[in-house]
Amino acid sequence: MSLIFSFIPYIKRLIVLILILFGLAVGFILSKALFDLSIYSNAVFDFMIDKSSYNVAYFSSSLIGALGIISFIGLVLLVGSWVERRMIAKFQIRVGPNRVGIFGLLQPIADAIKLMQKEVLVPAVADKLLFFIAPVAIFIPAILAWAPIPWGPNMTYLNINIGILYIFAVSSLTVPIIFFAGWSSMNHYALLGSMRTVAMMVSYEIPISLSLLSVVIITGTLNLTEIVLWQSSNSIWLGLLIPFSLFTFFFSSTAEINRTPNDIAEAESEIVAGYHIEYSGMKAGLFMAVELGNAVLLGALVTSLFLNGWFLFGLENYIPPYIIFIAKTVAIYIVLIWLRATLPRFRLDQLMNFAWKMLIPVSIINFFMIAIETTIITNLDSSKYIIYLFAIINIAVFVGLIILWSKIFKIDKFSPEKIAPIFAQKIGGIKAMEGTKSVD
């Protein structure tokens, strides 16, 4: 009997184990039926085209795909906040939400219900129209940007040949919306936050576009699916081939989506919440949801541009490709959470200096280097191994540039020996201090 009782502390872990095994079993059974989700929307199209016109069939089948993507985003918005809170709690030796539902899984739903019940306060001097439109409008680019993401071999919702440009253009629409949100609140904190956002986004769009240009020039296409296929046909991840572009894209995107260490637009210790300080209830919830959704979107973009999308060393033949894609996306998202739990925040001018004095010049150098390499690769299409050589060269240059940069900007002057305090030799005022001072 005591043996049984001794298992009780482990019962939660046992439940998790059982759930994981159950999920794996179900996943294995369903993996054949759910291997390629595009067949369902194609089936709807085939079914409808017999019954009615082409337009109706096209509309209904595209509605299926859109619903699938939107429901995935909804799931992400629900589960993502739970994941983030639990993980940050683990980083911070806390427990995190664990009261509502098993492991606190229903916490996001409870939060949403709470936010919906709260009163939406509108400042008396606010510009009512823009104040109401901004939180709704910010959702539109956040969802539209998901359209050209390649989930699997046939599973790209909007397989357009300007995919990267599309995402870039659509996400640049958030800048004025954030500005309107901050301005219409008529609050100095909000205004500061939105000015910071605009200044930062304008600066960081340049390194982002330069890093994306590197990807485009090396693959020769703007289509996200073709970029993924290029990586698999050359059997190299672009993140390895052009590591500096990956770094630039990732770092600059954290500035664009307001994540630590670049979350200066809503720095809670300085300007409290930045542009959405005056929003309450579900309107504030919408801003938070968009922020979370953008973090996951960044994961999806990094996955498809730099981490070879749905391919994972042949494993994509056995498990559904979109599962691999989502797993990679979640991995990037977890890196973002890790950064958030670890790093302090930059100052606005430091961030701008970093963008203009370091990221942009080095990105241009990197871009020229990649252009030369691309010329060589396209002219020497017989030798495939030259790409690996270039990968090694690029990694070396990447490391070299970082070291060079730290030398130029004298980062190493803060070595621990020089910044540790000294100990007083004798006690007193300025005169005693002169005797003590060993380092000037």
């Binding site: 337009n55 357009i160 004025p176 500005f179 309107f180 605009v198």
Partner: protein, 183 residues
């Protein structure tokens, strides 16, 4: 006269959206709101470009007009604090409406009178662009290379010019530097 098809519905909804937002730009009092409607107009025009199967231009429209020029305007509004509240009509408001209507009437009359089909000799037909982006790239770096280079030089000069116009004069700059040293 006009048949009811999906394309028509989309065309009329997008164009009415564009035109209503464009009119609102002129009619609303707050400069921020008129900027907001201007962005909506840009997005509507981008939608019309997509209907015309000019995908690259539509995206460029979004990127440059809705994403960049609107932000320049935002900066201008924020740097001139009076302007966000003071967006009154000039004394030429009614003449403006009048000129707009007259111009529109004349031009619409011109367009409807002219038979473009007859003008070109053969019946107009829609061109289906399959891959505009590659062709545009080839054109820009081939046939129009000089114009392309000139445009880039123009942009560079505009950038430098804008900076040199807005920069404070030399003495202020030096004073600010000295203050920085003191701190």
């Amino acid at each position: 006269m006009i048949e009811f098809s999906t394309y028509n519905v989309i065309f009329f909804s997008i164009s009415s959206f564009t035109l209503i937002s464009a009119i609102s730009v002129g009619l609303v009092n707050s400069l921020m709101r008129s900027l907001f409607f201007l962005i909506l107009t840009f997005i509507g025009v981008a939608g019309l470009f997509i209907l015309l199967s000019a995908d690259f231009i539509a995206i460029a429209q979004l990127l440059i007009y809705a994403g960049s020029i609107s932000i320049l305007l935002l900066f201008a509004v924020m740097l001139t604090p009076e302007s966000s509240t003071n967006n009154g009509n000039s004394k030429y408001f009614l003449p403006g409406i009048l000129i707009g209507i007259i111009f529109t009437y004349l031009m619409v009359a011109l367009v409807t009178i002219f038979q473009f089909n007859q003008l070109s000799g053969i019946h107009l037909k829609k061109l289906d662009f399959d891959n505009t982006i590659a062709s545009i790239g080839e054109l820009l770096l081939g046939k129009y290379i000089i114009a392309f280079e000139l445009a880039s030089i123009l942009l560079l000069f505009a950038l430098i010019g804008a900076i040199s116009i807005v920069r404070s004069n030399e003495s202020d700059f030096l004073i600010s530097l000295n203050n920085k040293d003191k701190k």
